[in-house]
Amino acid sequence: MIEPLEIETKLLDFLKREVFAGNVVVTPETDLIASGFDSMSLVRVLLFIEQSYGFWIPEGEITGDALQNVRSLAATAARILNAR
């Protein structure tokens, strides 16, 4: 079992480092889309998850709800990973 919090921490670190500009404040509850998270950011996060955990989040799971913030994204990833 993997804890959502573990993925959340890793994702947050990745987003801060690689996706958002230095001046954007990102917390687990930050509204991603409103902060400039675009189609390319999505591709990079999906690739990061694939590299880190060895699975691709199925396209049917990539919804507005899952992409709301880092917490919801991590929860989605953890749910899928733990069901495997």
């Binding site: 690689e18 996706v19 390319m40």
Partner: protein
């Protein structure tokens, strides 16, 4: 001729027709032509010499379109600069393309205001560019090392010819509404310019996840979708019951369409995905509107006024694809190589290996072009190699596309290190500093040596690997 004639013609015929929709803003063709005219006046006051090259570093939007046409009206050459580019890459493009200046939505050092949220930074190229008497409209920067060609130049006439040819295949009319989600900095001519020429409405979809995208399609009664396999894959796996009855044409572009995506999309929407072959030097060469399901792995029959030839076919009919037709590029840039020196009796040798079946459908077996397609973004290996090779621990490198079931390709690199103590993470950090994020290789492999061509000793360009 000048490409602004296309927008003027459309605006005169359908002034009230919506041209572009961005969020809640709807701009008619009449209004778009007026905005272009205003920008023309503002940019004219900057006194940029005719024929100068101007970098356009804008995100998707109405402004992107209006600025392109305004620059064209003033006989300035548009050089798209993807917004993801860090400062150093912008600098590289500016020097290689001899930009007279760059337009950005945010102020830069020494920039002047052109319009609200539009700034011009004057640059001083060491030598003014020579367009060799051509009526240039557009240069696609393709990077390249010092010896390679760094850009592909197209004249106004060439862009018009390829737009008109491509539309014989797409058949876009004023009744069409295109739902757009690709970056304009990478896709513009046989798409946005074509839609404008045809008088279609372009809806800029900001959110590409299934729910908001499907909402946009149905709200605006979209008839044409033009996106990468990555997008279609996401929409194919949507588990709502929402259908897209207004869509008549869904084109999957930028890289080979995985068959499972094609099948899942058809199952979900009862609508086929159409593949095509677009080449930077040529425009739209083929489009599979005739048998998108029966021959779903074909890029289709020859499009518009092009002719295809398979050179030196083997026993199975496979050989190099050569193409003849309208809208072939005018010249490579930096160094300047006119198309006459590249073409062979008018034919352009694409480097792709393919075959044509008895019904004239083209099947590509390997795309020899080095460009990597990552979910709709074009990535040029030479550019990444140039950065890697500057790292003190890297003696040489090779960058290639790795086939990815969801994204088309991802970027990977092989590096030859000059010290056993070299650390890969420092190379990764170096890339982060010098490259747009989507160009950073997702995997680095340390190798002892790179494969070379036997005669010239050049590093052998890798085809995409599975």
């Amino acid at each position: 001729m000048n490409l602004t004639e296309l927008i003027e013609k459309t605006a005169a015929r359908w002034p009230q027709k919506p041209a572009l929709v961005e969020e809640s803003t709807v701009v008619t063709y009449g209004e778009l032509a007026r905005q272009v005219g205003e920008l023309v006046a503002q940019i004219r006051s900057l006194h940029i010499d005719t024929g100068s090259r101007v970098g356009l570093a804008f995100p998707n939007g109405i402004a992107y379109v209006a600025l392109t046409f305004a620059l064209w009206r003033l006989n300035l050459v548009v050089v798209p600069v993807p917004t993801e580019c860090p400062e150093e890459e912008i600098e590289e493009i500016a020097v290689a393309m001899q930009l007279a200046g760059i337009l950005t939505p945010k102020p830069r050092t020494n920039s002047v205001v052109v319009a609200p949220d539009c700034y011009f930074t004057k640059l001083n190229p060491a030598t003014p560019p020579d367009n060799h008497g051509l009526n240039l409209a557009f240069i696609r920067f393709t990077s390249g090392t010092t010896s390679a060609r760094k850009g592909v130049a197209l004249s106004h006439e060439t862009v018009r010819d390829r737009v008109l040819s491509a539309n014989k295949a797409f058949g876009i009319t004023p009744d069409d509404t295109v739902i757009w989600c690709l970056p304009m900095a990478h896709h513009f001519l046989i798409t946005i310019v074509l839609y404008i020429e045809a008088g279609a409405t372009i809806v800029l979809a900001r959110h590409v996840t299934a729910k908001p995208f499907l909402e946009a399609v149905n709200h605006w009664k979209g008839t044409v979708l033009y996106a990468a396999p990555f997008h279609f894959s996401m929409w194919a796996r949507d588990n709502s019951a929402v259908q897209i009855p207004s869509v008549r044409l869904a084109v999957s572009t930028t890289c080979a369409l995985p068959q499972d995506v094609a099948n899942d999309f058809f199952k979900r929407y009862n609508h086929p995905l159409v593949q095509g072959l677009g080449v930077i030097e040529l425009g739209l060469v083929a489009l599979n509107t005739a048998a998108p399901r029966k021959k779903s792995d074909s890029v289709g029959q020859v499009a518009g006024d092009f002719q295809l030839r398979i050179v030196n076919p083997d026993a199975d009919g496979c050989g190099e694809l050569a193409v003849l037709g309208p809208g072939i590029f005018d010249a490579y840039v930096a160094p300047w190589v006119p198309r006459e020196e590249v073409l062979c009796d008018g034919w352009f040798f694409t480097g792709d290996i393919g075959r044509v079946d008895e019904d004239g459908f083209l099947f590509l077996l390997s795309r020899k072009t080095a460009v990597i397609n990552l979910a709709g973004r074009k990535v040029f290996p030479e550019e990444i190699e140039a950065v890697l090779n500057r790292h003190p621990s890297v003696s040489e490198s090779r960058v290639y596309g790795k086939l990815h079931p969801h994204l088309g390709e991802t970027v990977e690199a092989e590096v030859v290190l000059n010290s056993p103590d070299a650390k890969l993470y420092t190379i990764h950090a170096f890339c982060r500093e010098h490259l747009a994020s989507y160009k950073i290789p997702t995997r680095f492999t340390i190798v002892a040596a790179l494969p070379r061509t036997p005669v010239t000793g050049k590093i052998r360009r890798a085809a995409s690997v599975a």
